[in-house]
């Protein structure tokens, strides 16, 4: 063969062979992500500590959702707050009951509970692979179920009409996520949603320990389940649970303000803790502070959010009500008079989620509805004693109440006691849905108008078949 062709052949062969040799080695293209930035899921979750840290991230995500954000959105729909002073389009959209697919605040909030839910579902993949004692496994599973239920519960309250809106709760609810998969799941009914929530909490009650530090314990799961039943209007189911929790040794704090740094407040059944760092990065109170705080502003500067005139008047109507001090009037007497709240004028504080105050007021209301006035008053009086000074007169007045008047007083005290905690709108909707004889209007809009339910973000419609909430009808 011609020498020239031999040269060509040798060179070509060398090139081809070296190429084949290199490309056949698959590792030549492999990239190992730096473990400090990205860890493969199977490598990330191998030990009980890994599972515990994953569980803690569920608390973390849930705490970010309940750092005032969900509470504020709830209150914006209610009659407890003023129109946002900054005219912010997103907050004002919620306040006007016209939240749209593009409301950034609503969209951001909607994604938050599902962070927690996804993480809980991820944990489900690994129970069988991790060496855990049965006690530890039960504890973790119980906490995980508790948090998943909490997130679904908070979501269904905002993005669906309440339980009782239809007789069988067949109206559209939210998406239930039971698996950590990027799969198409569409909205199910509110009945289904609540069944899922109750199922999770039932399992949590079975598995959670009695005592669990600052984390969810058995009593927390019972308290939440009691609250879920109460919200649904299933008072008979709620009552024994609330009774059990109230009798579990919690005690009302001296202070009217449960929003303090100390996570071991005696009345907190479950809450999200704040632990300080030099950079204030894990404070669980940022949305509360950002919107309501006013002690760091100039004398005429307005915080973004304040109390509605109606609520401020109610709070200030009784001079013996200590809670009236939570109202700070800015620009008094002017056209732009503003009712700021001092409730969140603090640097950092924990965010309580289930409290004895709440339990007592729920049980009091159930008793009142069941016309057990004595029991109802007994639950209400500790709240009254703490709120009024001197309380004797108010106690006397409460002791004289019964029937509808007592029920009204309990609901009033609930509003005053838990104002700006995101509770008011849930109660109004519950009453509207479960007590048809009572006409509930919220800032001149019926409790069940379309806009009273938040719209889903546009990205939810990425999936074909997704049904958005109807809009309008509230203004």
């Amino acid at each position: 063969m011609n020498k020239k062709y031999i040269h060509v052949l040798i060179m070509m062969s060398t090139l081809v062979l070296s190429t084949v040799a290199i490309t056949s080695c698959k590792k030549s293209l492999e990239i190992e992500p730096d473990p400090s930035f990205g860890i493969d899921p199977d490598e990330a979750i191998q030990t009980p500590d890994d599972m515990q840290q994953l569980l803690l991230s569920c608390y973390d995500a849930c705490a970010n959702m309940m750092n005032g954000r969900f509470q504020l959105i709830n209150d914006l729909l209610s009659d407890d707050v003023s129109r946002p002073s900054n005219n912010d389009g997103n907050l004002t959209g919620i306040y006007n009951r016209t939240s749209s697919e593009f409301n950034g605040e609503v969209g951001g909030a909607y994604s938050q509970p599902y962070f927690t839910i996804y993480r809980v579902n991820i944990m489900d993949r690994y129970w069988d692979n991790i060496q855990l004692s049965s006690v530890e496994k039960d504890r973790m599973q119980g906490e995980a179920r508790f948090l998943r239920a909490l997130c679904h519960f908070e979501t269904v309250k905002l993005w669906a009409q309440p339980a009782g809106y239809t007789a069988d709760n067949s109206h559209l609810g939210i998406i239930e996520r039971k698996r950590a998969l990027n799969e198409v799941v569409l909205r199910t009914s509110v009945a289904s949603n609540y069944n899922f929530i109750i199922s999770d909490l039932t399992e949590a009650i079975q598995k959670l320990p009695v005592s669990n530090g600052v984390y969810a314990n058995q009593m927390a799961a019972k308290a939440l389940l009691g609250k879920v039943y109460f919200t649904m209007g299933r008072y008979d189911d709620a009552l024994p649970l609330l009774t059990e929790v109230i009798g579990a040794g919690y005690a009302l704090t001296d202070s009217l303000n449960r929003f303090r740094r100390n996570e071991t407040e005696s009345e907190i059944i479950f809450g999200f803790v704040t632990t300080g760092t030099p950079y204030d990065i894990n404070s669980r109170s940022s949305t509360f502070k950002a919107n309501y705080r006013n002690d760091n502003l100039g004398p005429t500067d307005l915080p973004i959010m304040g109390l509605s005139r109606e609520l401020a008047t109610l709070l200030r109507s009784d001079t013996t009500d200590i809670r009236r001090n939570m109202v700070k009037i800015i620009n008094e007497g002017e056209a732009n008079e503003f009712y700021a709240s001092t409730k969140y004028n603090m640097n950092d504080f924990a965010s309580p989620y289930l409290t004895l105050t709440d339990m007592l007021l729920m049980r009091a209301e159930i008793y009142a509805i069941k016309e057990n006035a004595g029991a109802a008053r007994a639950d209400l009086l500790p709240i009254i004693k703490r709120a009024y000074s001197p309380s004797a007169n108010k106690e006397l007045a409460v002791n004289a109440l019964s029937g509808p008047a007592l029920l009204a007083e309990i609901r009033l005290q609930r509003r005053l006691e838990m104002h700006l905690e995101g509770d008011r709108i849930t109660q109004l909707k519950r009453i509207g849905a479960t007590q048809p004889s009572t006409v509930i209007t919220i800032r001149n809009a019926p409790w069940n108008c379309n806009g009273m339910v938040l719209q889903f973000p546009a990205s939810a419609g990425t999936v074909r078949g997704f049904i958005f909430n109807p809009t309008g009808g509230c203004n």
Binding site: H7, M11, L15, V16, T19, T23, L29, I31, P33, D34, S36, F37, G38, D40, P41, I45, D50, Q53, L56, S57, Y59, D60, A61, S85, G89, N90, G93, N96, T98, S100, F102, N103, Y110, Y114, F115, I117, R119, I122, I174, I175, R177, N182, V185, T275, I281, T300, L302, I304, A335, N336, P457, A458, S459, A460, G461, T462, V463, R464, F466, N475
Partner: protein
């Protein structure tokens, strides 16, 4: 004695050798003198230039045989072999012929060059002269309007602003839509998101490539040209070749220019009194009485009565006439075995925004060393440093506030000298921009070095082995400092704060390549190229933040009050084998087969490698007997190609599912572990199959030349960064789900219109028409990918970047409220997202440019217009400037508004209440009311040049010297009422996606383009 004799002989010879002269006249085909043609005697350092009468003279030529080269832009280079004897004066007259598209010109096509005549694919070329005929911050800006099918949309006039280049439309959504840039053999780092969109601007990765160092830019457009770049070539390839020394004497080129910068447009906002009238009107329209309460407008630190006390011209406060200078020096020299090219560059470019400038200093050295007849070494290295003194713009404030919340009744300062604060209701619009300019320090510094080393070995005749290694290093440091005075007023902190963000990218590749030429006989010729390439890139970086800072952070050390967080490294690897075989039959029929077999770490484990083949053919019809010698058709070639290419320009980490463990976000003081993204092991390249048919032509003895191409490019597996249903637990997910089709035609025509006497007029016209359509979004809806919050969406049957808005019908004459249309076309007062429909898109129907060049004696005048036909601009600023009244200023168009029942007006009644407009909030006022035709024609470049006569140039020891006045962006004709219709705004979120889906047409408070006036002196020694 012998020594004396030898010395005498040498001296005589030396004297004789100085007596030889070559002289003559250079004319064109009509016999007219050519002024400024270059004459160069190869193998010597001798040369010259023709004078105003076309005469030249080269003295002191040693006796011997030479080849003399005559060059002039736009004319075919002529070579004349001569022999000159001792004492001879040789007269050599040369006639040069027009050759706007030289058929023998070498065109770089990736891993080799090919004569233009033999090209079977769609390739455009631009020379260094055309690149440097106007002052640009970055070389890609000079391509605008000059290449068919290459759409260049300049960023704003701000320093370091990147352009968007689209070759034959856009076939990507969330992957990069920009072409692949290859500099001297290395696909360079081109991350437009290197610093996110901080300050309302993206990063320009091309800004530190010195335009003056570029010899040529080749644009590869169809699959036959790009398939050799495999999975990276689908959006076209821009091959940049830097200068090397040419044989001959030492050459020194010096260019200096000085210029001024002004904006192309000034915001058309209302003045103080008119604004107050508008506010009052809105107040009354809403049923209020008395003086307007400014808090209802979101203004809480000023009363109505105080608004008449000040009248600030914020435009004047924030803008300036920017100064510019650019200086380049190159020195090149070639010896027998060694040649060297070196350059030094310094540019200082202020823009029209006060405090904003881009400065670049750089150097390059390219060398060639021929060890022997078989082995050759080539090397090159460059270092450039770009310093961007940055300002806030767009959404981030600064110039953006000028058009929004910087109201004329706000003072710059309070009576006590402190800065007045905009205490409005939105923190994004609260910072006094003058205070920010005065107090905030911000600088981004990029260091860039691109180097290569190649060894070429001729194994046997016609068989060459070339091994080349390349290294592209880029470091970006972004430093900022806010003093306590500023932080206290903005409420962000109580102390001075400083931040430093840094990223380092090490990108290197090597190739081993064999080239073999084989001529079976004189009619059948083959050339084959085959090789292997491997490339690897690693980007890592960190972010530092310091409280109690007193100045910029000067080092990378962590300290007590300084925290340092490392970003997620971005690493990728790539390897492939490639090949190309060219066949030439009878210098008339050409064929090419090319392929690339690519593997990348970006691809999921289920798709590690992909194959990208292409075939093409060319037929020079004019060489056929039936056309040969035809007086009208001087050249005609038909080309056709079909092939597959890919796009893999997406996040290298996209396929990974990540968890992260950190103490920084601990709960209850404990570490947490959490998932950060979903994995996708099926992620792979986008695939484009492209068919192309082209016709190259020359008529009337090549007085008119050009080419026409038609193409059809169908892309599948389009990568989308999907907006996942939030209930999944993540907001986004990369997947190959869609299809896009681009088809169209492009044309370039060059004509020599007049050649009479000393007057010449040539015209180059380029135009490209592209049709774009999304053919599939898989199982997803329009919401799967969005350009911005509520503007563009992916709509099957519509182009990429389709505006998806609720239609506006009219203003109700009775109530003054806007009336929208629902999906069925029925009128409604309520704006509902469910009524959104496609109403326009960002992509132009056609783009192009026309360049006219006039030469008379020593003068030349060049006029470049570039244009865009079609496409839309959505002015997202207008929904606030012409929408619900708030703490924003209003635009002058608001004069055409409803004021009383019966008014037929363009804009509705003024109001403070979004519900008056049927809106959930004032940000949602997205309707075609603010959608405009983006068509424009712009005088992009006007250059008047004068070539100094040789006699004058020689006084400066120069062989040539040209002085030019260059003006850019002198005017634009458009229907768009905003600042400037040419928009390439900052990208947000996924930068690539934003650049593809939105940046070209969605305007939001961005600064306009820059108009410059420059004087340039270019001298060769």
């Amino acid at each position: 004695m012998r020594k004396t004799l030898l010395l005498t002989i040498f001296m005589v010879l030396a004297c004789l050798s100085k007596a030889q002269t070559i002289k003559g006249k250079v004319t064109d085909e009509k016999g007219e003198a050519i002024v400024g043609a270059s004459i160069f005697i190869e193998g010597t350092q001798k040369g010259g230039q023709t004078d105003v009468n076309g005469f030249y003279l080269v003295n002191d030529v040693s006796p011997g045989k030479y080849k003399v080269r005559f060059t002039f832009i736009g004319l075919k280079t002529e070579y004349k072999a001569i022999e000159i004897s001792a004492g001879q004066t040789l007269e050599l007259n040369v006639k040069m012929i027009d050759d706007p598209q030289s058929l023998d010109e070498a065109v770089v096509v990736g891993y080799g060059t090919i004569k233009r005549r033999e090209i079977t694919s769609a390739v455009s070329k631009i020379s260094n002269r055309e690149l440097n005929d106007l002052p640009v911050q970055s070389f890609e800006q000079a391509l605008q309007g000059k290449l068919a099918g290459v759409a260049v949309t300049q960023g704003s006039g701000l320093a370091g602003s990147p352009s968007i280049i689209r070759i034959r439309g856009i076939s990507s959504i969330s992957a990069g839509g920009d072409p692949l840039y290859v500099v001297d053999g290395i696909p360079i780092t081109q991350d437009y998101g290197a610093y996110g969109n901080s300050g309302g601007a993206n990063f320009n990765p091309l800004a530190t490539i010195n335009p003056f160092d570029i010899e040529s830019v080749e644009v590869l457009k169809d699959a036959a040209a790009t398939s050799i770049y495999g999975s990276r070539g689908a959006n076209g390839v821009i091959v940049i070749t830097t200068k090397r020394a040419e044989k001959g004497k030492m050459r020194v080129n010096f260019s200096t220019q000085f210029g001024l910068s002004t904006p192309t447009a000034r915001p058309n906002l209302v003045g103080r009194d008119e604004l107050l009238n508008l506010m009052e009107e809105a107040w009354i329209n809403d049923g209020n009485v008395g003086k307007p309460d400014l808090s209802r407008f979101g203004i809480s630190n000023m009363t109505w009565d105080e608004t008449r006390q000040h009248n600030t011209d914020w435009y004047k406060e924030l803008t300036q006439v920017g100064l510019k200078t650019q200086n380049d020096l190159t020195i090149s020299k070639a010896w027998n075995k060694f040649s060297l090219y070196s350059s030094l560059s310094y540019g200082y470019n202020e823009t029209f925004v006060r405090g904003n400038s881009f400065n670049r200093v750089g150097t390059r050295i390219n060398g060639d060393y021929k060890i022997n007849n078989k082995i050759k070494i080539q090397f090159g290295t460059s270092f450039n440093r770009g310093i961007n003194n940055r300002v806030f713009s767009g959404w981030s404030g600064g110039y953006g506030l000028l058009m929004s919340s910087a109201l004329p009744f706000y003072p710059v300062r309070n009576p006590d000298g402190s800065y007045f604060l905009f205490n409005n209701s939105d923190a994004s619009f609260r910072t006094n921009p003058v205070m920010m300019l005065d107090l905030y320090k911000w600088q981004t510094v990029e260091n860039r070095s691109i180097s290569n080393l190649a060894v070429e070995y001729e194994v046997i005749k016609n068989l060459k082995l070339r091994v080349q290694g390349n290294y592209d290093y880029q470091s970006i440091g972004d430093d900022s400092y806010a003093p306590a005075e500023l932080n206290k007023t903005t409420g962000s902190d109580t102390t001075g704060t400083a931040a430093r963000g840094a990223s380092y990218t090490r990108n290197y590749n090597y190739t081993a390549q064999l080239t073999y030429k084989y001529n079976i006989n004189k009619y059948n010729k083959f050339e084959a190229v085959g090789g292997y390439e491997r490339q690897q890139s690693l980007t890592n970086g960190f972010f530092m933040f310091e409280r109690f800072a007193e100045d910029l952070i000067r080092n990378n050390e962590k300290s007590g009050s300084r925290v340092k967080d490392y970003g997620v490294p971005s690493e990728w690897r790539f390897e492939r084998i490639f090949g190309r075989v060219n066949y030439n039959l009878l210098e008339r029929y050409y064929a090419q087969i090319a392929f690339s077999y690519d593997g990348s770490s970006r691809f999921g484990s289920n798709y590690s490698y992909g194959f990208f083949p292409a075939v093409s053919a060319g037929w020079v019809i004019s060489e056929e007997s039936f056309l040969r010698g035809n007086k009208k058709i001087s050249f005609l070639k038909l080309r056709a190609s079909y092939g597959r290419s890919g796009n893999s320009d997406f996040d290298p980490n996209a396929r990974f599912g990540f968890f992260r463990r950190t103490n920084l976000l601990a709960y209850n003081g404990q570490s947490i572990l959490y998932p950060t993204k979903l994995e996708n092991e099926n992620l792979r390249w986008e695939t484009s199959w492209t068919a192309n048919i082209g016709l190259d032509f020359g008529f009337f003895d090549d007085r008119i030349t050009g080419s026409i191409d038609v193409y059809d490019k169908r892309t599948s597996d389009v990568i989308m960064n999907l907006n996942t249903d939030p209930s999944v637990g993540f907001s986004n997910y990369f997947d190959n789900v869609g299809g896009i089709r681009n088809y169209g035609a492009e044309m370039v025509i060059k004509s020599s219109n007049i050649q009479k006497g000393k007057f010449r007029w040539t015209t180059t016209f380029v135009i490209a028409r592209n049709f774009n359509e999304i053919t599939s979004t898989g199982d997803y809806t329009e919401e799967a990918v969005s350009g911005g919050t509520n503007d563009t969406r992916v709509v099957v049957g519509s182009p990429v970047g389709t505006y998806y808005l609720v239609r506006f019908s009219r203003v109700d004459p009775e109530s003054g409220r806007p009336i929208y249309l629902d999906k069925d076309g029925n009128e409604t007062f309520e704006w509902k997202p469910a009524n959104r429909v496609p109403v326009g898109n960002i992509l132009p129907k056609a783009v192009g440019g026309i360049t006219n060049t006039f030469r008379y004696k020593n003068w030349d005048l060049s006029v470049l217009f570039n244009f865009q036909i079609g496409g839309n601009i959505y002015d997202a600023s207008a929904k606030r400037q012409l929408g619900v009244m708030s703490f924003w200023n209003s635009r002058a168009e608001v004069a055409d508004r409803w004021q009383k029942p019966g008014d037929v007006a363009a804009f509705p009644r003024l109001t403070l209440n979004p519900s008056t407009y049927g809106l959930p909030d004032y940000w949602q006022y997205n309707t075609p009311m603010f959608l405009y035709d983006a068509s424009f024609i712009r005088l992009r470049n006007l250059t008047l040049g004068y070539m100094l006569p040789n006699s004058v140039a020689k006084k400066f020891k120069a062989t040539s010297c040209r002085v030019a006045v260059i003006c850019t962006n002198l005017f634009v004709l458009t229907k768009y009422p905003g600042l400037d219709p040419e928009i390439a705004r900052d990208g947000e979120g996924n930068i690539n996606q934003s650049r593809n889906m939105q940046a070209q047409g969605t305007y939001y408070l961005n600064a306009p383009q820059e108009r410059t006036y420059n004087i340039q002196i270019l001298a060769t020694f």
